[in-house]
């Protein structure tokens, strides 16, 4: 059973199509974007999905990041994703326990090292791989491959999500298997990134 922790369907029809494709691909859990949650949550629940709310926090400086994280209302089924290209903000997101997933980018790949692994393990956060970037520009494959190599070298917990707005932007687990097989030689590790998060009081930790 797989989980796509961030999708953003634009309309109920799109949500319905995405739910059908995800269900046939073996997904049973989705994270809906905050602005799509009210519109699409029922559609996914009716098809037997576990639905989580995913909040994206984008910041370019540390002060802004602190303020945004402070104002997030979090519950057991909310996931907070920190997205930035700034090194200090990246480290802040990694240290802060309120941020569940820290999204890496081309500029922050080199920050994913042994120290980052220690910080992430301490805070209980994960590194996020956003597959939509590969569709946007296949040239992103170079740094995404480097990031994956670092994740395995330093044994960093990670998660993969599609960040899809349409059904044609979804990723099948077999696609990811081939990607990881080519990048790292261990295709099955892609399934670790698609594993369902634990539930209960603390949905992610």
């Amino acid at each position: 059973m797989f989980c796509d922790l961030y999708i953003e369907p634009r309309s109920p029809r799109e949500a319905s199509l995405m739910a059908e494709i995800l269900r046939r691909s073996g997904f049973r859990c989705v994270g809906l974007a905050d602005n799509s949650y009210s519109m699409a949550a029922d559609i996914f629940v009716q098809r037997g999905f576990k639905v989580l709310r995913t909040i994206i926090i984008e910041a370019s400086d540390e002060r802004d990041a602190r303020s945004r994280v402070k104002h997030v209302t979090k519950d057991a089924e909310t996931i907070v994703v920190g997205r930035t290209s700034d090194a200090s903000v990246f480290r802040f997101f990694s240290r802060d326990g309120r941020v569940d997933i820290v999204e890496a980018s081309r500029r922050t790949v080199n920050l994913v090292d042994r120290n980052e692994a220690v910080i992430l393990r301490k805070s209980g956060s994960l590194i996020g791989l956003r597959m939509w970037l590969l569709l946007k520009n296949p040239r992103n494959m170079a740094w995404m491959r480097a990031l994956t190599t670092r994740i395995f070298r330093y044994d960093i917990p990670f998660v993969i999500y599609s960040s899809a707005k349409e059904w044609s932007q979804l990723w099948h687990p077999r696609h990811l298997y081939s990607l990881f097989q080519t990048w790292t030689g261990y295709g099955r590790y892609a399934y670790l990134g698609l594993a369902m998060p634990t539930y209960g009081e603390n949905a992610f930790k």
């Binding site: 494709i21 691909s25 590969l134 569709l135 296949p138 349409e166 059904w167 044609s168 932007q169 979804l170 990723w171 099948h172 077999r174 696609h175 298997y177 081939s178 990607l179 097989q181 080519t182 295709g187």
Partner: protein, 167 residues
């Protein structure tokens, strides 16, 4: 003139010894000849084996293993064989270039427009790379689509059976 007996005996002895040496030398020459013959045969065998190995290696190079990827395309409408073939070839060319396209030996074995399922043949080493290229195809001629690889098999027969069971 009479020769003394001792001299005759000595002469006979010398002749005998010389004959013995000659026989020994002849034996040795024959042994050497046999050895040379055997060595020649051995060398010949080695050369033949090397040539055979080279031929086998070249044969192996010339005929790479193939894999058949059974796929399904989720699309807004049915796609024709020519569209799908062009789509797959373009995807591999865009990602890996002309050399990649040549090395992958991609070939669309068959495609059913009614169900948008089919089988694409690919070189065994290129299986995963081809799936990556196909995964990046998200639209064709303005229409959204998604290529899903269902199974990879080693024979076209099993691939066709799978297509039949899917349809």
């Amino acid at each position: 003139m009479e020769y003394p007996q001792a001299t005759v005996a000595a002469l006979l002895l010398i002749i005998t010894i010389l004959l013995g040496i000659a026989a020994y030398l002849l034996h040795k020459v024959r042994v050497l000849e046999r050895g040379l013959r055997e060595t020649r045969v051995l060398l010949n065998n080695i050369v033949q084996a090397a040539v055979h190995a080279k031929v086998l290696a070249k044969k192996a190079q010339g005929r790479p293993r193939k894999r058949y990827i059974v796929y399904k395309i989720i699309s807004e409408k049915a796609l024709r064989y020519s569209d799908v073939e062009k789509m797959f070839r373009t995807a591999i060319r865009n990602l890996y270039g002309e050399t990649g396209l040549a090395e992958s030996r991609v070939y669309l074995a068959f495609h059913e427009p009614s169900s948008n399922t089919g089988v694409v043949r690919i070189s065994a080493d290129w299986k995963d790379r081809a799936i990556i290229a196909f995964s990046l195809i998200r639209q064709w001629e303005g229409r959204k689509l998604l290529v899903i690889p269902i199974r990879t098999t080693g024979s076209i027969k099993r691939a066709r059976e799978l297509i039949r069971s899917l349809n």
